[in-house]
């Protein structure tokens, strides 16, 4: 372990899981630890693991109570904490997410511009001129939590009963993509024709934690054209690798 102000802690989480917490803030440093720990734990090849679930600042290890004990998994976790090295990302995968920021597809645009006192051009520029890191996937299958925007929005007081999948939302200083039709309370500033989650697809999720997303602006016409292409299977999402510049 390298020097760090926050010492990892084990927290209880039921009799079949252990939660390992690496910090209380969402930063790349904490993420490096989360990734480093997952690698070190997997390298131990512990038997009886049901699932390893990383999040922003923590990792949950679910295990099979029938075959392994809490104490056994706990000591494996402690071993992994000693052996782990933080994993700074060398390169990262970027996914292009074509996004229409217009009209009916951006029902909260006006409200967000009022709250942030930004012009529409400036807001779209802030959303499109750099890739955002996917810190966590959750809420619904495939929904990426990405950051960070240079402002902080309040929560919407009443959730919308149905937010269409593909909607691009803002909440706090984060941005996200609705992966299925669901009730939701993020501020909606656009929509992508991409299906970032599709259970029937060979690879159901277009994004994983640690990936980056690059939003690119498209107009309404392009949105509907692209939606048709995607429906007919004529579109392959654009992905590329980028090197981390320090």
């Amino acid at each position: 372990m390298n020097a760090n102000s926050f010492k990892p802690v084990l927290r209880p989480a039921g009799e079949n899981s252990i939660l390992v917490v690496f910090g209380t803030t969402i930063t790349p440093k904490v993420r490096e630890q989360v990734c480093g720990f997952v690698t070190a734990f997997k390298a131990l090849g512990v038997k009886g693991i049901l699932e390893i679930v990383p999040s922003y600042c923590s990792v949950m290890i679910y295990f099979k109570m029938r075959t392994v004990t809490y104490a056994h998994i706990k000591s494996a976790v402690e071993k992994a904490l000693l052996e782990m090295v933080p994993e700074p990302q060398q390169t990262y995968q970027v996914l292009e997410v074509p996004t229409c920021y217009d009209g009916v597809l951006a029902p909260d645009m006006e409200a967000v511009l009022r709250l942030t006192k930004l012009s529409k051009e400036k807001l779209i520029r802030l959303h499109t001129d750099k890739p955002f890191m996917v810190y966590m996937i959750g809420f619904t299958p495939g929904f990426p939590y990405m950051g960070t925007m240079p402002f902080h929005l309040p929560r919407q007081t009443t959730p919308r009963p149905v937010v269409p999948s593909g909607s691009i939302g803002l909440a706090g200083n984060q941005t996200g993509i609705y992966s299925i039709d669901t009730p939701g309370e993020w501020w909606l500033i656009g929509r992508t024709p991409l299906a970032i989650f599709d259970a029937q697809r060979k690879d159901p999720f277009l994004l994983s934690p640690g990936d980056y997303v690059r939003f690119t602006p498209i107009d309404l016409e392009e949105y509907f054209e692209l939606k048709d292409y995607i429906a007919q299977g004529f579109y392959t999402p654009r992905r590329w690798q980028e090197k981390v510049t320090s």
Binding site: R11, P12, A13, G14, E15, N16, S17, L19, V21, T24, T25, I26, L50, E51, I52, V53, P54, S55, Y56, C57, S58, V59, M60, Y62, M65, R66, T69, Y70, A71, M136, I137, G138, F139, T140, P141, G142, F143, Y145, S179, I180, T182, F197, A199, Q200, P204, F205, S208, P209
Partner: protein
């Protein structure tokens, strides 16, 4: 093949869940009362992982094309085949063209119908479980409707004779429900007063009991006003948002949440949540993780013994 004549209140296809995708926000889903679902499968000679029908509150009516060995476990309800009464927690044969009727739950809340060969719906991401929120798994990702047709899987090796489960196989159905819990991930965030209130009060279940989470009525726990960054949250977590209200995390719940958790309900008592009815009373008792795991292993051992007994008798 079976035809759904009347589906009951909320009937879905479930197995033991969809694992491996929680890091992508995919909840495990699966049978709420996994003990009853496993028992039903064992009674008809299936693997415990076979898909069953989970019936909420009311079972419904089903017409069977071929002779089929079935079992109904979980909540108690009137069960008839062509009008002739059948026992719960046992397997029985339905003749070709036979009509199975399962009435309202008279004790408990969820019935499990296992069919020899299992419910044959497509496997989606490793499981046949229905996840209603994302409309995936099960039959077209939804609950059953009148007129639906379900296929039955093949299990030619299995025995055909009906059997009854030992009298002590069904777990006790009670109200008030005494739920054993282990410490939650933020247990130390709560004041002593809040913890006392939690462990010494009687909470009441809401009038709606969806598969995502249960809302509890009772004393509010308001001592944690800290913000929590979303973290992985498992089955049975008792979440306390800053409003102080209590919620219990269930199989269709989001996999990472930003709420302080005071406790986790143990797996061996999860069946109680599945079988409690709206308005039932619950209380909490703290135990350690080793005792909790031991209670789970005891239940698993009882199921395993039943399976061994049946396997050796059919040889």
């Amino acid at each position: 093949m079976i035809t759904v004549i009347r589906p009951g209140t909320l009937t879905t296809v479930q197995d033991l869940g969809r694992f491996g995708y929680q890091a992508w926000g995919m909840p495990a889903s699966g049978a709420m009362d996994f003990y009853a679902a496993k028992a039903a499968n064992i009674l008809v000679g299936n693997s415990t992982k076979a898909a069953v029908l989970e019936m909420t509150e009311e079972g419904g009516s089903y017409r069977f094309e071929e002779e089929t060995l079935v079992a109904v476990t979980g909540a108690l309800a009137t069960i008839t085949v062509n009008g002739i009464s059948q026992a719960p927690w046992s397997s029985f044969l339905i003749p070709p063209g036979g009509m199975l009727h399962i009435g309202m739950a008279t004790k408990g809340y969820r019935m499990y119908l296992a069919l020899q060969g299992g419910v044959d719906v497509p496997v989606v991401m490793g499981s046949r479980s229905t996840y209603l929120t994302a409309r995936l798994g099960g039959l077209e990702g939804r609950s059953l409707q009148a007129g639906d047709i379900l296929l039955i899987g093949k299990n030619s090796k299995a025995r055909r004779h009906p059997i009854s489960a030992p009298a002590d196989l069904p777990l006790p159905l009670e109200n008030p429900w005494r739920l054993f819990v282990t410490a939650g991930s933020q247990e130390d965030w709560f004041s002593t007063k809040d913890k006392k209130a939690f462990y010494n009060s009687v909470y009441t279940l809401d009038h709606e009991l969806p598969r995502m989470s249960y809302r509890l009525r009772g004393p509010l726990l308001t001592s944690t006003q800290q913000e929590l960054i979303s973290e992985p949250t498992g089955l049975g977590a008792v979440e306390v948002p800053t409003s102080g209200k209590l919620f219990i995390v269930l199989p269709d719940h989001g996999t990472s949440r930003g709420f302080a958790k005071i406790a986790y309900i143990i797996h061996a008592h999860f069946y109680k949540l599945a079988q409690a009815v709206p308005g039932d009373k619950i209380t909490f008792k703290l135990i350690d993780v080793d005792t909790a795991a031991e209670l789970y292993r005891t239940q698993e051992a009882a199921l395993h013994r039943l399976k061994e007994d049946l396997d050796s008798n059919s040889l």
